[in-house]
Symmetry: C2
Subunit: 156 residues, 2 copies
């Protein structure tokens, strides 16, 4: 016979499940709100913002596969976004010396400038949405989230 | 001239942005891990698990539009999942008395039983993944997440 879990262990397991559902709900609600505002204010999609954000942090450029890995989405989705950014003069593809098949994607000066403007507005939105959390709240949550993701990150 | 934000306010804004990025990362990593395990252990997708979970919590059945609203995904995606669950004898569509166009979707007894088994395994996974968090950590995070989502939830 499988032993029953102790009531103590079982209640902790239920609390962890409850926390997970709340974590999912919070990140989903915030993400929806950001998605809605990006669309309304800039006519941007969230994946476009995320691709530009990844490129803005890598001035030397990123391979398509690197963008996909960073954003954890498929290469196919990234291709369409990068094609559009290129058409609009916000990004460009540069060839990698010594590797004829690989391209690096980079933001153009205009892309950098526009992203910096939108990123500042995005930060202000997050500041407003998370305004109920003070420094202590934030430090406490960051410490616990780091603890949580450390284990998962190492599994890769 | 726009006044510069005080260094204090600006640093809090940066911390909130940092927290948001960590919240997104943690929920993404956990979700990926659950998705991977559902696929490997049960050959289930995460959306299938989520649809069954919504149905399991509504023994009277749910309209397609209610499932989509609860899961915040489009009706089209839900249709394919419900079709498959129905084919497999895990769910069924029942007509709504007095409304010929509306159907309610319900789990069958076999669907309920199978979901209960998989949900228990899912809870054990979450318990393991979140094992670094004790009761205090959980209570602290839940309090802050509730505070956070309260404002967003009221906006609807």
């Amino acid at each position: 016979m499988t032993p029953e879990p102790s009531p103590r262990a079982s209640s902790l397991s239920k609390s962890r499940l409850r926390l997970w559902l709340k974590l999912l709900k919070a990140s989903g609600l915030i993400e929806d709100e950001i998605r809605r505002r990006l669309r309304a204010e800039f006519n941007w999609t969230l994946p476009r913002f995320d691709v530009m954000s990844a490129l803005a942090r890598s001035p030397d450029g990123l391979k398509m596969s690197e963008i996909s890995r960073l954003l954890r989405v498929s290469n196919g989705n990234i291709t369409g976004i990068v094609d559009k950014l290129t058409e609009e003069g916000l990004a460009l593809r540069v060839s990698v010396p010594g590797d004829r098949r690989a391209n690096l994607v980079r933001l153009t000066p205009r892309g950098k400038e526009l992203f910096a403007e939108h990123a500042a507005v995005h930060e202000a939105w997050i500041n407003e949405i998370l305004s109920g959390l003070n420094d202590d709240d934030i430090a406490g949550m960051i410490r616990r989230l780091d603890h949580l993701t450390e284990a998962l990150d190492h599994e890769d």
